[in-house]
């Protein structure tokens, strides 16, 4: 079995994990963390590599230590609809395990990604024995359900221009910005189009329009949000 020390920075014990506060494991006490740490293993996925697939039955969950992934479903013609982007602390595969159903979507690494793999039995043991953890998982599930509802509403009620502005703001809020002010995530134009449910050509044209209006700047794949307030108006977000 191929094992190799890629980077020395993934802690062996969950108690030392800097991303634990962002994850479902945030309130776990040391005995539970000891148990999870004993059973977990660390896995490295290359950029573009499939992590989990729609229709398969995962035998454990992945907790992202570092990296980014996209969760998507394929339509009848093979076109992706990106449902969610996942980053540090994100939990993958838990709904399939809890519902004992095959995965409803596929997950692919958007960049080189380090994850911790927790086998199904350990995950279920902690769920059963720790109410705080169960509540965390329930909260995550409810949030994701809420986000999925927003996507459905957005796809049904907003036009493509509004959806694009909304997604750009969402990317900024989720992944933050680099020192140069660009969104800290590298998506292809096709992936961006798949997030808003349109053709790649339309996404390219609309990005170019937003750029010429001075709301964003583009540099290759990189996108900077220059005028978030105007973008919010474009996205028809009023709060």
């Amino acid at each position: 079995m191929a094992t190799k020390q890629i980077t020395p920075n993934v802690p062996a014990h969950c108690a030392e994990c800097l991303n634990r506060t962002k994850s479902a494991f945030k309130n776990l006490d040391n005995p539970d963390l000891d148990e999870v740490s004993k059973r977990k293993s660390c896995v490295f996925f290359r950029k573009g590599q499939v992590m989990m697939q729609e229709g398969a039955r995962p035998q454990g969950v992945y907790c992202i230590y570092s990296g980014k992934a996209k969760l998507f479903k394929r339509g009848n013609e093979g076109k992706e609809q990106i449902m969610r982007l996942i980053t540090d602390g994100g939990l993958i595969g838990y709904r399939s395990i809890l519902s004992d159903e095959p995965l409803g979507a596929s997950i692919v690494a958007l960049e080189d990604t380090h994850v911790c793999y927790i086998p199904k039995t350990s995950f279920l043991e902690v769920i059963e024995s720790n109410p705080k953890f169960s509540l965390n998982v329930l909260k995550i599930s409810c949030n994701e359900l809420g986000e999925a509802g927003k996507i459905i509403t957005s796809l049904a009620q907003k036009n493509v221009r509004e959806r694009l502005a909304e997604v750009l703001l969402l990317l900024g809020a989720t992944f933050g910005h680099t020192k140069e002010g660009y969104l800290d995530i590298s998506l292809t134009r096709e992936e961006l189009a798949n997030m808003i449910g349109t053709a790649t050509e339309s996404a390219i044209r609309l990005l170019s329009e937003l750029s010429s209006e001075g709301l964003i700047t583009l540099k290759g794949r990189k996108i900077a949000l220059v005028d978030p307030i105007a973008l919010k108006e474009r996205a028809a977000i009023f709060d």
Binding site: M1, A2, T3, K4, Q5, I6, T7, P8, N9, V10, P11, A12, H13, S41, C42, V43, F44, F45, R46, G48, Q49, V50, M51, M52, Q53, E54, G55, A56, R57, P58, Q59, R74, G78, D100, P102, S106, H114, C116, P119, T121
Partner: protein
């Protein structure tokens, strides 16, 4: 203390090479490994497919054993090189039977449309596919024959 990290891609390529042999093009092997997920079942009686599941892909057994449970005590054993659920995947039909692990550890690769498109023209995979389809066909025929009697 830092964790030892498993490189999933290398692990998958090695396991695939073990089953398909060295004749397969290295670039195709890498692409298949990138587009498929390695799933390790670490207990007996774990479900791979349940009757009624939609066939989004199939499991390529790289190590370990599974069985198709056809009811009335009839089962059909699957082992290294077996393509679990290939018939229904190709026909795009819901699964009619349950498939479960019978070994305490089963290593498999879940292959969907993307992986299949890459593998369908690989000779060693074609040979495996033909024998898998025939074996599964005869096993199901046996079950049907038993029910007629």
């Amino acid at each position: 203390m830092h964790a030892i990290i498993t490189v999933k891609l290398q692990q998958t390529i090695q396991a695939l090479q073990d089953v398909l042999g060295d004749s397969i093009n290295a670039s195709i092997l890498r692409k298949v490994a990138l587009r498929s997920s390695l799933i390790v079942f670490d207990e007996r009686h774990q479900t791979l497919f349940r009757a009624g599941d939609k066939p989004k892909g199939f499991y390529f057994i790289l190590k370990g054993k599974a069985e198709l449970l056809a009811g009335d005590g009839f089962s059909y054993k699957l082992s290294k090189g077996s393509l679990v659920g290939i018939q229904n995947y190709l026909k795009k039909e819901e699964h009619h039977f349950d498939f479960k692990t019978i070994s305490s550890k089963l290593t498999s690769l879940f292959i969907d449309d993307n992986g299949y498109k890459l593998l369908e023209n690989v000779e060693s995979f074609q040979i495996l596919m033909r024998s898998n389809i025939l074996d599964e066909f005869f096993a199901i025929q046996k079950v049907i024959g038993h029910h007629k009697i």
